[in-house]
């Protein structure tokens, strides 16, 4: 039986949450591992920074600056993964003129590892998205869009496992219900499957069958819908599943100043994060591991 103590302290602007257990710690510095996860969402073709005269986001954003930040973090920790939670397309004339080519080429230059598909990524139709895929040197992950009867069949994987410094990171994608949001003639025969059920399945496969050390969901479901609390959202997903460590969200353009800590179906902590939109921010989550005997039980400290 696991014994859980919940302790929350606020020091300056940071909140420390400790999930304590048996304290049979045996430190071995050589067995420490550190994985850094970086993420964006809803960049919406915002390649150039906002100008100095912009009413809201003056001098913010910009892909070249994001690249500099990502480079610096990769130098600091080579075991870094970079993800996007969808809605790469639509929002500036770059998309209208080049159909997403530049967005994908730049994300490839920044060495994104994977992205999930947002509703706006269908704005030039499923064929428009497919036409740009050759420019993307990263994976597209979606577990609840069934593309079997579409041109995207086999081009989009439900999940992928990234091994960094011996740590297995299992990543799967989830997309929002397209009916009512995207015209049928755009998404064609794409089938939307219940994201919560799929996530329960995916997290079991990744944690139990694939023995991943870390399970991450790239979600374009939206953070939470106050007026439709039953609607599939990241918070509902966190509560209804187990074995997910981090949900990287999108769609609702929610600017979270720090990741939300939510309890999953078995009372364990899940991090839910989203960094608004337009590439104004980069989300960063660091996971620190140490090797231990299977019989040991220890807690995880969360600093946000």
């Amino acid at each position: 039986m696991k014994r859980r103590n919940f302790l929350q302290q606020t020091i300056a602007s940071s909140a420390f949450i400790t999930l304590g257990g048996l304290s049979l710690q045996s430190f071995n510095s050589s067995s420490k591992k550190h994985i850094t996860i970086l993420h964006t969402n809803d960049v919406h073709s915002h390649i150039d920074p906002f100008g100095p005269d912009d009413g809201r986001n003056a001098n913010k954003g910009g892909v070249a600056r994001r690249a500099a930040l990502v480079d610096a973090i990769r130098k600091e920790n080579p075991n870094t993964l970079l993800f996007d939670a969808g809605d790469i397309f639509q929002g500036t004339p770059y998309f209208n003129y080049y159909g997403g080519e530049l967005e994908f080429k730049l994300m490839s230059m920044l060495q994104y590892d994977a992205a999930t598909i947002g509703n706006h990524d269908f704005d030039n139709g499923i064929d428009g998205l497919n036409a740009q895929l050759p420019h993307a040197k990263f994976d597209f992950l979606s577990a609840n869009y069934d593309f079997k009867n579409t041109v995207l069949d086999t081009h989009v994987k439900p999940y992928k496992i990234y091994t960094k410094n011996g740590i297995k990171v299992g990543v799967f994608g989830l997309g929002i219900q397209l009916d009512g949001l995207v015209e049928k003639r755009m998404y064609k025969e794409t089938k939307y499957l219940n994201p919560i059920e799929i996530a329960q399945d995916m997290s079991r496969i990744l944690k139990e069958e694939e023995q991943c050390d870390l399970v991450i969901c790239l979600s374009h479901l939206g953070y939470y819908y106050r007026n439709f609390p039953e609607k599939a959202s990241d918070l509902n997903l966190a509560r209804a599943t187990k074995n997910i460590d981090l949900i990287i969200g999108g769609h609702t353009h929610t600017f979270l100043p720090k990741p939300t800590i939510e309890k999953n179906a078995v009372g364990k902590n899940v991090l839910v994060n989203q960094v608004g939109c337009y590439g104004l921010y980069l989300g960063r989550i660091d996971f620190y591991f140490d090797a231990h005997e299977k019989t040991q039980e220890k807690g995880t400290t969360i600093i946000v």
Partner: protein, 251 residues
């Protein structure tokens, strides 16, 4: 053979026993701001440059000329810029609709909120079209029976906003009651079906224009509102829209 299986089993057990089980000790999360304190990577800047220059060249090339500055706040029930929206989309969409169906568009209804910027006096570029219509909405034609057109008229009567219209003429009394409503000069016929040009946002219930859901048929024109405006601007040397009597209140 049997030994090989045993050896394999032993090796497998050994590997399993040796596989380190990593414990997640600590998680740290933070949000990093991307702003002008970071200097961008030059190779990325250089890569974007030709794309940016091409887009800007296209966007900034002059395609027409505005005689005056036009804002959607210029009038109570109809404005020059709103009339331009309605008339331009009608002129551009009707040939497309007619070619496909053999019929003509009877009236246009767009929304006041959909005009996202002013048109400034002077040269008009493609960028102007992106500013006044940044959204990707497309034009659709909904066929509505006369009785539902009456709902549309009531909507406009109650909205008290200069929603862009064309083909339709509405006169309100001083007390906001309906004085008359005509379509192309004729009274609205209950038994007749009318072809209404609008955008897919409004058709799908945007701005609570619920009457569109009572349509008999829907024609998707595959023509973006912005592209219709762009095509119209390219055709016209000068833009000189005016406020007129298509929707007025008697005083």
């Amino acid at each position: 053979m049997k030994y090989r299986i045993i050896i394999l089993l032993v090796v497998l057990t050994f590997i399993t026993a040796c596989k380190k089980d990593y414990h997640l000790e600590k998680i740290k999360g933070e949000r990093l701001s991307i702003n002008d304190s970071i200097s961008g990577v030059q190779t990325i800047e250089d890569f974007i440059k030709p794309y940016r220059e091409n887009v800007n060249k296209n966007l900034d090339s002059v395609i027409s000329y505005a005689v005056d500055t036009y804002s959607k706040t210029d009038g109570e029930y109809n404005t020059a810029i709103g009339n331009l929206f309605a008339d331009a989309t009608l002129e551009q969409a009707n040939p497309v609709f007619n070619k496909r169906t053999g019929k003509n568009i009877d009236l246009v209804l767009l929304n006041h909120g959909g005009i996202r910027a002013i048109i400034s006096k002077g040269p008009i570029s493609a960028r102007t079209a992106y500013q006044i219509m940044p959204f990707e909405n497309s034009l659709v034609v909904a066929t509505l029976k006369g009785e539902h057109i009456k709902e549309l008229v009531t909507y406009l009567q109650l909205a008290k906003r200069a929603h862009p219209i064309a083909g339709l003429n509405i006169v309100l009394n001083e007390d906001y009651s309906l004085n008359k409503a005509t379509i192309n000069g004729q009274p609205i016929d209950h038994t007749k079906a009318y072809n209404v040009l609008t955008n897919d946002y409004l058709f799908n219930g945007g701005d609570r224009m619920d009457f569109f859901q009572k349509r008999d048929s829907l024609y998707v024109l595959d023509y973006k509102v912005r592209n219709a405006l762009l095509d119209y601007f390219k055709k016209k040397d000068t833009l000189n829209p005016v406020t007129d009597n298509r929707f007025i209140r008697l005083k």
